[in-house]
Symmetry: C4
């Protein structure tokens, strides 16, 4: 809450570059999955981009830690950022790097109002759809019993999962694929909740019933104030002094 000024300034300045880096990461992550026959150079370049982006995010974490006044508190309250930076170092958790990137960028956008939360959720849903499709495609393509073999199938499956429709014409068969699917399902439930809550909040805010009673109150207070002013004028007339605000403390 009470962040030092230098930290706030750093976070404001780095927001756009980090978002651009996250997009670069997404592209570098997607290319080898979408094009499995890509040349060795392309794959290496993508891997290099992934590591450069990871390095930038790690550097950003270190700078923010250095700028923080109470470092112990910073580490505790930003444990998610630390996980996002450290976890992708473990090889099997490489898949988490995209989620981590999403989270790190999203953290910056401070959620203050309904509009921002909705934007954030909508952005996350699109990001998760992309990520879910690519990640599931990469693990299911090599599975002997898998039925998600093309990018089109993967995107289609992501949509049927996230909207909880679940036709079952495509479904993950590997353990990792199923864990990813559970993530998409839970995101879908959150999406549904946000959509419904938005509409409900909008409806309730427009409901006039509540306002009627409150407007009546404001009117009652206004009338009462008039009454008191009239009284004050009468008292002033009694004492022969002009009514003014000079005595109001």
């Amino acid at each position: 809450m009470k962040q030092p000024l230098a930290q706030v300034r750093w976070e404001r300045r780095t927001q756009r570059p980090l978002f651009a880096l996250a997009l670069a990461f997404a592209v570098a992550y997607a290319v080898p999955i979408v094009e499995p026959d890509a040349s060795h150079e392309v794959v290496s370049a993508c891997l290099a981009v992934e590591w450069v982006v990871w390095g930038a995010f790690a550097l950003d974490y270190v700078v923010r830690l250095a700028l923080a006044e109470r470092r112990g508190q910073f580490v505790r309250s930003h444990w998610l950022d630390l996980c996002a930076v450290v976890l992708p170092l473990v090889q099997p958790l490489r898949l988490l790097r995209l989620v981590a990137t999403l989270l790190l960028v999203g953290q910056r956008a401070r959620m203050a109002s309904q509009v921002r939360l909705t934007t954030y959720v909508a952005g996350s849903v699109v990001g998760l759809l992309m990520f879910g499709s690519l990640a599931v495609l990469s693990v299911e393509r090599d599975s002997p019993n898998g039925n998600i073999k093309t990018l089109g199938d993967a995107v289609w499956w992501s949509f049927t999962t996230m909207t909880t429709v679940g036709y079952g014409d495509h479904a993950p068969t590997t353990g990792v694929g199923r864990v990813l699917a559970v993530g998409l399902m839970l995101s879908g439930i959150a999406l549904l909740g946000v959509v419904t809550a938005n509409i409900a909040a909008w409806f309730i805010a427009r409901f006039e019933m509540d306002d009627v009673e409150e407007r009546r109150q404001t009117e009652a207070i206004r009338l009462l104030t008039e009454e008191v002013r009239a009284l004050r004028a009468e008292v002033a007339a009694l004492s022969g002094e002009p009514v003014g605000d000079e005595r109001v403390r």
Copy 2:
């Protein structure tokens, strides 16, 4: 918001004719899909009706643009209308014409209250179900692996999709069919949100708890006002003048 009077009048007058044209469009769109063996004359007539309706909507857009005071602002704030008029000219986006028609008619009904929004959503859901069924039937019927071959199957599939039940006994297999399906799924989530939000808003409006506290406040203010009036009467008695409202500003 501050529309010129001529524009408002035009929109009010054209609402019903345009709605009738939209219905004619829906029929003309449906006939060649439901009856694939229809004679060439019927198909041509339907195509002609589609173009006439499109022309009417294009004309309506031009008239509204001409009646607008600030044309630049009109184009910017009605970009959806412009898309709806221009996009169907591109051949592969012909399917969008029905959605465009729905949107253009819906735009006219100014959403002010909960009742209108609900009516609009219910109408859109019915329209989208019809449109989704017809459009998916038209693209899936010719697909070799498709399993949506009759109008009955298409309508049934639309319902299972929109309610997010998703049995999977019928599912689109082509790219266009799947894009249409995603549209239906998202509409279904919106429908669910509107239904829930309506019930929630209705429940919350009836909750008496909040009112109790507010009624207590209004009562407190009423009592206070009595007190002040009594005081004013006493002060008046002091000064020997009658209590009147003549001094209330």
Copy 3:
């Protein structure tokens, strides 16, 4: 709204007998479907019970119409009851009789509060599940491609449909079965909406944040009242009269 007293009394008195008749109807409806090998006498008895119950509901409608002051208005505002009485006479709509019975009984329970609506919805959901299972079983059992052949399958299918899970291991294949399924799906969405809205209303009613501001207001008014009372005492001391409520109008 302003019903004559005789009508209100009649509706109150007949509520329990009609509910009992509806249960008898449900049993008579269920027996020939659950036991397709039942003897001819049993089937005839069930049919007789169905007609007797229908007769009782028709009689009830006639009595209420006779007791109504403005008959034209009664017919218009109770068109649902009229449909429920007349429609089952048409043979193919025989299936609607159970829904009609549910509706007629439900109409009696005047929805006033959240608790009653929830009870009504929960009751309807159970009723619709029963009805849906039986009706779908009766039409799908004779379908050559059908996969709902036992009561257990039908009940299981009803649950997967109403909760919008939709495994697809069982799904109706006939037109009537699918129309019934759509009814169940829409009921499921309504059920979900009512559950969510209940929880949301309960949460919002408990939210203390709003109350804090209002309690602060009530406190402010209380303090102000003390202030005015003190002032009045001072004025009374000035004029030498005791403070009393005798002058409060």
Copy 4:
């Protein structure tokens, strides 16, 4: 509500030990299902743990009954606890023991606020997922037509059911399995409702619109109080007495 002090103290003291026992029960329940080839000694030990935990919960019920002031009322208002203790004695309802344990532990956590309800629901969802997976696995593994044969499949199926996705790649085929599935589906709907309601309540609490009106009221009351204070000062000046709070009752 008005529980005797001894009972409250007992419930507070036993909360943690009973929770630990419930966890031990969950492990003892899971081991023979996850490891069907476990040695006879392990299975016996697990069974013994199950019975010891059951005994502890039965003892807890008896102690609370003994500490209660009005025993008849205690039995009536805690009928759920009684069921949870008595029902598992019947052999085919052995599966209910885990649910009973969950319920008994959950009952202790008095639901007061939104946070607690959400925690309780989240905990229940995790517990039900675990329980559902294990119970369905234990009944479906021995079914000839079953398709849930491993713990991985069972967990995956639980998730697809609870989120109402329902791919249908795995589905229970036995009666008991389907009853368990219905329980999971209904829990999923409750989960969805709680998620949505939480977001909606959070949105509505943050809505500034309502606050604007209320802040205006508070401001109006503040101004009025200033006015009255000024008036009191003037009256005091009239009477020559100093303004003090000594006369405020």
